[in-house]
Amino acid sequence: MTAAEFTTPILKQTRIAEDIYNLTLGPHPAMLTATPGQFVQLAVGPTWDPLLRRPFSICYVKDDGAFNILYRAQGKGTALLAHLCAGASVNVLGPLGHGFTLPQAPTSDPIVLVGGGIGTPPLVFLAQSLSNMGIRPHVTLGFTNADQVICEEYFRACGAHLSIATDDGSYGYHGLVTELLEQINKPALIYACGPRGMLAAVAHFANTRRISCQVSMEEHMACGMGVCLGCVCKTKVTAPAAPQPNAVGGPGWQWQRVCMEGPVFDAAEVIF
């Protein structure tokens, strides 16, 4: 779980959907310690402008420590990243953060992974780890339309029960991913990553039914190492859970750092 700063070559970069890229970065031993839900901070571009690293979830890690991230080119930094070709090098800080907590033992109770759009990639790593434990998760994904659907092949490869929803019905179920979640019979554990609104809906679904649920949060980050306090998220302090020793907050709530205590939090804990 110890992070490293390293420079590594791009082994491959492919455009897999409109504005969405699959980036394979060269191996580093630190990446072999990565767990699902953890992320890396990439220094995009060789200069101090853009200044800050960009956080991306680890999509999967190969046996040699090479790893992939899937990202949407949307602003200054990701546009620069999208222009890089195989052979160019990228500086990486990672693996970072606290990822998903896996079940203690194989279980036959339904485990559901809920992904929304570009929040899907870390669920690939998670599905692979569950599959290695002998668990076949239910994976429900939501996208705006058929052109935006990503990662389908990875989930099929690890034997997941897969269902996909699109906002416009151009692929799979016509509607919201949370509607797919409601169709699953008695989920025992839910993992979710996606836009904040989706996470709030999934958390509400799980909390009202007392289903154990973990959500991966997103905030703008500077350091990614827990020092700048730029990435904090409001969480409940519920007895008997003790407050984080270094955390501060108000009555009944405390800040936690998305880059350190997160990005994955217990859904019952997050104040949306």
Binding site: R53, A222, N246, G249
Partner: protein, 309 residues
């Protein structure tokens, strides 16, 4: 036994406000936590000093989110000095820090003169602290929230109160959000400052044009990073000509050349802040670069301080 490396690093040995430093490279307050977070990534014992995150009497919750936004070659932050308070610092952070080699400089914050003095009093009971850096950029609650750091009288009052509460050297950290930085420097030196550190962040703001709202929840924030370097170098230059005490220079340092600019403008030591977020080992690289530079030029670091004047 004296190796070439020892000789090179000896060129960097210096003193600021009576604190002996192995080298003049520090990490700036608020950009290195309490030191522990980065210790897994690098050999922090090679730093000259660690300036820890601002410490207040009671825990401060800081500002609402969003707290940071990237700007050209810089960033704005409005963290609001979130920190778990002096008791936590002494109990949880200091025992680890004092075992490390770098000098520990504690950044002190408060909303009233009394609060600053109280933190200083509490810290005075502790071993292993080299100096107090007094962050006068805090809002003065009694004066309607205007920063202590923009009023020479209020700044001097804070410095004098801290000075009276501690046996440690007192290093006020100047805010650059003033018309005449030399007036502030003179005021705090007259009040007993052993050194000054500058600069803190520049007040700025950004608008999120998609949301048609300020990008930061706090509306305004402090600008840091390479974007502010020429402004910071200018202020170090001016303060060097105005007062006799040593200067710890900072603002956008990313490499040895940047650090040399500050040193030649008059800084006896430098601190790396925002650059650490991008490359955690920046301060160590600056340090190695200074050693190589001094060796190549056949000078000690002290001989370079203010040479551009």
């Amino acid at each position: 036994m004296s190796t070439t490396q020892d000789h090179e690093t000896n060129l960097l040995v210096t003193q600021i406000a009576g604190i002996a430093l192995d080298n003049p490279v520090m990490v700036a307050s608020g950009t290195f936590g309490y030191g522990r977070e980065y210790a897994t990534l690098m050999d922090i014992d090679r730093l000259g000093a660690i300036m820890v995150k601002g410490v207040s009497v009671t825990p401060w919750t800081g500002n609402p989110m969003p707290r940071i936004v990237e700007t050209p070659a810089g960033m704005l932050n409005a963290i609001g000095l979130q920190n778990p308070g002096v008791a936590y610092f002494c109990r949880e952070a200091l025992p680890w820090l004092r075992q490390r080699k770098p000098a520990v400089i504690v950044n002190v914050i408060g909303k009233t003169v009394e609060e600053y003095a109280e933190v200083a009093t509490r810290l005075d009971q502790e071993q292993g602290i080299a100096a107090l850096e007094v962050n006068i950029s805090c809002p003065n609650v009694k004066e309607g929230g205007i920063a202590f750091g923009t009023d020479p009288v209020a700044a001097a009052e804070v410095v004098a109160a801290v000075k009276a509460s501690t046996s440690l050297p007192v290093i006020p950290k100047l805010s650059p959000n003033v018309t005449d930085i030399t007036a502030m420097a003179r005021a705090v030196v007259d009040a007993g400052a052993s050194a000054v550190s500058l600069v803190n962040t520049f007040l700025g703001m950004a608008i999120d044009v998609r949301k048609k709202r300020p990008a930061l929840a706090n509306v305004m924030g402090g600008l840091s990073g390479p974007a502010i370097r020429p402004l910071a170098v200018r202020m170090v230059w001016q303060v060097y000509e105005a007062v006799q005490v040593p200067i710890i220079g900072m603002g956008g340092i990313t490499c040895v050349e940047d650090a040399l600019e500050f040193i030649m403008a008059g800084a006896g030591a430098v601190a790396v802040g925002t650059a650490t977020f991008r490359h955690p080992t920046t301060a160590l690289q600056v340090c190695a670069g200074l050693a190589a530079y001094c060796k190549a030029e056949g000078v000690t670091i002290n001989e370079l301080v203010g040479v551009a004047h």
